[in-house]
Symmetry: C2
Subunit: 340 residues, 2 copies
């Protein structure tokens, strides 16, 4: 469809383009009669201000970019939900990209967003990423940036995190308090900070309780999937039939482990106590119900957007900006799978 321009409205009414523009903006030096005529015609012709031209003038796109590892994922889809709601309340639209846990794709997506001139970027890193050149480029270009959940510790930008080490400690301590003596850990991949921290929390809890750490009791996921939960539970119970506790990196993996145990008639919590991480919806549906660490996904999205908004406002007004890190609380949710 051909776009209606200010010029066409001006020509039709026999007035100047400036007058049309002023009339649409309700300037006081244009008569009410003219304003009415302009507005009516604009409405009839379906006139829309050209947003590209507006963008050129204001240098703002009122659009932000959001890069996450995986869209179809209980935790991340809750974060997306809260970010787009909060952004919309504040007049921003959100372009969403999925890195698929690939550093290469994530780099390409950062370039796309920079070229698109988004006003700011929110990112949760892929498993392969760290404080790499693409992150540095965003920071060097002074494009507002907030990392959340999966962050690069050394990146000089704002961050929203939880204390994964403390949460991993709490999960393990809870199993010990429930009577477990030999506790396994299905951990996440080796690179991401949150998977490292949950593992360190697990080790710390064992140490504090004088339980010797045994690296053979630690299994490492690649995909952090339901299937891996099943496979590692099988391997764990073959390797260490006397294991009595399991802390899994996330609920999806824990649910896979429960599914395997159920299929083999291994009684949870009597023979093996299990705790997950994140409080996915399915954790209250699986039998037995899964104990877990509650991670505040909705709050994390809201906090991340508001930190970004703070930086965007700061940059616009050319004020000095100092990055902030906000740490959100986690809670342990005890259900049947770890009852003593």
């Amino acid at each position: 469809m051909k776009d209606i321009t200010l010029k066409e409205i001006a020509t039709t009414l026999g007035i100047s383009i400036t007058t049309v523009s002023k009339a649409l903006k309700d300037y006081s030096d244009v008569s009410e009669t003219t304003k009415k005529a302009v507005k009516e015609l604009a409405l009839n012709l379906n006139y829309t201000p050209n947003s590209f031209a507006v963008n050129l003038r204001t240098k703002e796109s009122k659009t932000i970019g959001l890069i996450i590892p995986e869209v179809s994922h209980y935790f991340f889809s809750n974060i997306i939900k809260s970010i787009i709601e909060e952004a919309e309340k504040n007049g921003y639209l959100v372009i969403i990209l999925q890195s698929n846990e690939s550093l290469e794709l994530e780099k390409k997506q950062v370039e796309l967003l920079i070229n698109k001139r988004v006003d700011g970027i929110l990112i949760s890193l892929s498993n392969e990423s760290n404080n790499d050149s693409h992150i540095q480029e965003i920071i060097d270009r002074k494009i507002p940036l907030v990392m959340f959940d999966k962050i690069a510790k050394l990146a000089k930008c704002s961050k929203v995190i939880i204390d994964d080490q403390k949460a991993g400690f709490d999960a393990t301590q809870h199993l010990i308090d429930s009577g477990c003596k030999k506790i396994a850990h299905i951990r996440g991949p080796l690179n991401p900070q949150n998977s490292i921290d949950r593992y360190l929390g697990y080790k710390k809890a064992l140490e504090k309780n004088n339980i010797p750490f045994d690296s053979k009791l630690v299994y490492t996921c690649e995909k952090v999937s339901f299937e891996e939960g099943k496979e590692f539970a099988k391997q764990l119970l073959e390797d260490h039939p006397d294991v009595d506790g399991l802390f899994a990196i996330t609920d999806l993996v824990a649910v896979g482990a429960i599914d395997y145990c159920n299929s083999k008639g291994i009684k949870i919590p009597e023979e093996l106590k299990i705790i997950g991480f994140s409080n996915w919806f399915m954790s209250q549906v699986i039998k037995p119900n899964l104990s877990t660490i509650e991670q505040p996904s909705y709050e994390m999205g809201i906090t991340a957007f508001n930190l970004l908004l703070e930086e965007m406002t700061c940059r616009k007004e050319e004020e000095k900006f100092v990055p902030k890190t906000i740490e959100l609380e986690t809670n342990i949710v005890v259900r049947t799978s770890s009852e003593s």
Copy 2:
């Protein structure tokens, strides 16, 4: 950060702006030496083409809008995933908005996307929406539009659907084939086409098998939630203790019903057979595993984007465009919950 312009590159190298622009685009009438010098300087200065200016010139934003009722939802998050992947492959970015099942919000979001001058819009309607004025506005403005899953039957635009009536029929027929004589239906809200069609399919199957339809056996969800599944299962079993089959509008509701039955010791499938709709992940996790209708969410997203791309290309080349409706196949997935 100050943006580097073509003019600054031109001034620094003592050549014209046109030459700089041509060099960056690899025009053949610019010498290789000049091209090299321009590209190196552009790289050093971190030059990015001003996307707003590019947009003004090409009248394309290379951005599409996607409006869906609910982001944190197994079916829709799979659709989002496939749409953003397919869009990215084709050089498009996706702005995602969530209508929260509200017509008012959906209208506002359509306005936002029109003002943003997106190249096209993909929409799955809210429960309150139909062929309303905001949809008509998109069509009148000749902005490419594809509806998927939750559509307005009468809207003159491309659509990607499944045959919900046939699928509802299949689900009910399967319960009858498994021996059910008294089958209840927990349906979706009254307005959405897909919830009407699944209900009509249920009625049709009863009719074909000479089972009298009883409106008291139909319960109507407002939110289509896990909690409603639990509540209606309770009410159903109190009202009709002799019911032996249940077809639920979606897996989430069916899982709520199973959860209630499990808590009351009602044996599935022995006493009550249950089938859901959509094949959510949790359906293979719940005990007993839930039978369901497999809805091709991933394929639906890909098909919807490609129909949109077809229309965008057509409109750009000012060719005549005729809307298409593509119907995707559904399959019945039989698991323990409906075994005979």
